[in-house]
């Protein structure tokens, strides 16, 4: 089909060439002379194709492809006869191929050409810039049905669920809220370390609320051009208010919500304009009603204080690493579709995954399933069951993967291969030379540093051993005197393994 089209184009173009040559080019060999009678004979048979008036006489082309020159001027009666037959009569010199006479036309053509080229380039450029209106359009999208979930898919996070269920109840039964004189939270800020389920909660809310759920990332507000972000915020809120009641979910709010005046280059930049607009849209003179704004960040400490006052993000929900009970729930959710062998229980797993967040648990279980698959590769058809040893292998992998070794540590000591890790959990209390104390799980140690995950918070600290006064085990026997423990923290054995 394509080849046929190509062939057709060639045939048409070649045909066009032949036609044009026949119709317009008359620069063949010297034309033969023809007397007036001969000319009239041709004319009477209607065989003249064209005529041209030249200083030497009248040049005519005939149907049989010949050209004749008739001496003298064209007789007016002959001319009218030719005109009657519809024969084109042209004036002037015959044009020959590639003759210089086109140079007379060149200046005009060049100017015209330049204008045309400019015009085309401008149009093309405009085509690229046509999208400027869509610049200011909100990038917020409505979450597709396939991506939503329910609160049942979120393990733990009870506090957050309570607040979000309030939102659901408001959206489903606005009248009751009105009757009670209550106002739903204007904005809900989910904060907490990464991987603890902030985005998951938002997705669940989208599934539960039954209202239009617009989602976007705060970084989508920011664009090269100043003012675009603010326009996009406005557009987001306008779009959402048209579909009210609705929910706007802004992921990674810190991208625009950073404390004003903290950036480089003065106080009036694109990000701040965007933030100002966001503040106004949340609770300003032109605040939009019927919109609940949900935002997630893991840097709530850098957020502008105006963003956090009542009437804006007035509910701040801290989402922490899951407790053992919550881990059981999370494990149950992620074990759906996986088969656990009899020798592993949920409670055991919850114990094994101490300190894991939701994302890590999910990854851990997936890794275990992969290991189980690998183990049973030789026995097709059999159901793949995750056994305790798969879990143990996955756990080791997960420990190594996260292991409390971050980019700062990488700068301090190079690579993970240079640190040693405890054989099991090693909780200890580390007293520093200045009197401060850190209690928590020792993640790794090497000759100069020891890294501790602090109890009661998700913070991890890397402590130079030079600063350490003593290390005392919290839940085991201290096998070595404190000074020795500093040199070799693994002398602290967890209870039971010592």
């Amino acid at each position: 089909m394509k080849k046929l089209g190509t062939a057709l184009v060639w045939i048409v173009l070649i045909g066009l060439f032949l036609v044009l040559v026949r119709a317009y080019m008359d620069d063949g060999p010297e034309p033969a002379g023809l007397n007036h009678a001969g000319f009239q004979a041709y004319m009477e048979r209607g065989m003249i194709r064209w005529a041209r008036l030249t200083p030497e006489g009248t040049l005519v082309g005939t149907q049989d492809g010949r050209r004749y020159l008739i001496e003298g001027e064209l007789d007016p009666s002959d001319a009218s006869e030719l005109a009657r037959q519809g024969v084109p009569i042209r004036a002037g010199e015959p044009r020959s191929r590639g003759s210089g006479s086109s140079w007379l036309l060149m200046p005009a053509l060049i100017i015209g050409g330049v204008i045309l080229v400019l015009f085309i380039f401008l149009r093309r450029a405009r085509g690229q810039f046509m999208g400027y209106q869509s610049f200011t359009k909100s990038r917020a999208r409505i979450l597709p049905e396939t991506r939503v979930s329910t609160f049942d898919d979120v393990g733990g996070c009870l506090g957050a669920k309570t607040v979000l269920l309030d939102v659901v109840s408001y959206l489903k039964d606005t009248a009751r809220w009105r009757a009670a004189g209550a106002r739903p939270p204007r904005g809900i800020l989910l904060e907490g370390a990464s991987g603890c389920g902030k985005t998951l909660l938002a997705r669940a809310l989208a599934g539960e609320a039954g209202a239009k759920f617009f989602y976007l990332s705060a970084s989508e507000f920011v664009e090269l051009f100043v003012g675009v972000g603010a326009a996009r915020v406005r557009d987001t809120f306008e779009t959402a208010s048209k579909q009210a009641p609705s929910i706007i979910f802004i992921d990674e709010l810190d991208a625009v919500g950073r404390h004003r005046g903290s950036g480089l280059g003065g106080s009036h930049d694109e990000r701040e304009q965007t933030l100002n607009q966001l503040l106004v849209c949340l609770d300003g003179l032109e605040a939009y009603d019927g919109i609940i704004v949900l935002a997630a960040t893991n840097r709530s400490d850098v957020l502008d204080s105006a963003l956090l006052r009542p009437g804006r993000f007035d509910r701040r929900i801290q989402i922490d690493r899951p407790t053992p009970d919550e881990r059981v729930e999370i494990l149950r959710i992620h074990l759906k579709g996986k088969t656990l062998a009899g020798d592993a229980s949920l409670e055991d797993l919850a114990g094994m995954t101490d300190g894991f967040n939701g994302a890590e648990i999910e990854s851990f279980l997936n890794e275990a399933a992969v290991i189980a698959l690998r183990r049973t590769q030789g026995e097709p058809g059999a159901a793949v069951r995750i056994e305790a040893r798969d879990l143990q292998a996955a756990l080791t992998a997960a420990r190594n993967h996260r292991g409390g070794f971050d980019s700062v540590d990488a700068i301090l000591i190079g690579s993970t291969s240079q640190v040693s890790r405890p054989p099991g959990r090693a909780r200890a209390r580390i007293t520093l030379r200045d009197g401060a104390a850190v209690a928590g799980e020792i993640l790794w140690a090497n000759a100069e540093f020891v890294k501790v995950r602090q109890e009661g918070s998700s913070g991890e600290v890397t402590i130079p051993k030079l600063q350490v006064q003593s290390i005392v085990s919290l839940d085991g026997t201290t096998a070595a005197p404190p000074a020795e423990a500093v040199a070799d923290p693994w002398a602290i054995r967890p209870s039971g393994t010592a």
């Binding site: 190509t6 184009v9 060439f17 032949l18 040559v21 317009y24 080019m25 008359d26 015209g112 050409g113």
Partner: protein
């Protein structure tokens, strides 16, 4: 109006063989690249002799029809990284670049043979449109091949030189490459403005060759 119409007709007619030859030229690049394993051009639909696939609105249509002495088709994109592993990238670039002019030579020879087969000698006049077409094809293809083999960027010849130039001369070649395109345009415009037919010699040679062989 009459004059303009004729001028335009002459331009269009003179332009058709150019368009067809350019299509074959670009097709040869794309086809060779595909043969060597790079389907970049193929996926853009360039492995075809259909002129519409290769037309650049400004370089192929507007400038030549306005009578500018310069024109160009849409370049065929080539991604040497995608060449087959048994072809060195430099060799591949050379082959793809050479394919264009080579295809024009083939086409010129074919059309020349056509002229010789159809008749004795040529008239190159309107009285013999098919002969004129074939003659034009020979002329344009020889010109295209010769012109494109000039070792000046962005012409095909420069790619070949680029693949072959010894490391010793590379700095000189690179600095020449930078000014090459400007020199080329200036040279073409200057020669055209001076009224020298750029390829009169070639035309004369072909005419003599065909006439001599046909006699």
């Amino acid at each position: 109006m009459e004059v303009l119409e004729e001028l335009l007709a002459a331009r269009v007619a003179g332009f058709i063989p150019v368009l067809l030859s350019l299509s074959v030229h670009e097709w040869a690049h794309a086809w060779t690249a595909l043969r060597l394993g790079d389907d970049t051009a193929a996926r853009l639909g360039r492995v075809t002799m259909n002129p519409f696939a290769h037309v650049d609105p400004v370089g192929t249509l507007i400038l030549p029809l306005l009578g500018f002495p310069i024109g160009w088709a849409k370049p065929v994109p080539v991604n040497p990284i995608r060449f087959r592993r048994d072809i060195r990238m430099g060799t591949g670039i050379l082959l793809v670049a050479a394919a264009g002019p080579a295809s024009n030579i083939c086409l010129a020879v074919a059309c020349g043979a056509g002229i010789l087969a159809l008749q004795e000698g040529i008239t190159g006049s309107a009285q013999d449109p098919i002969g004129l077409f074939l003659f034009q094809m020979v002329l344009i293809n020889v010109v295209l091949a010769a012109f494109n083999m000039l070792p000046v960027p962005p012409l095909d010849g420069s790619r070949i030189v680029d693949a072959l130039v010894p490391a010793r001369f590379r700095p000189a070649w690179e600095s020449f490459s930078r000014v090459g395109p400007i020199l080329l345009i200036v040279a073409i415009v200057a020669i055209h403005a001076a009224g020298w037919g750029l390829f009169d010699g070639i035309q004369e040679g072909i005419e003599r060759l065909l006439a001599g062989d046909g006699a």
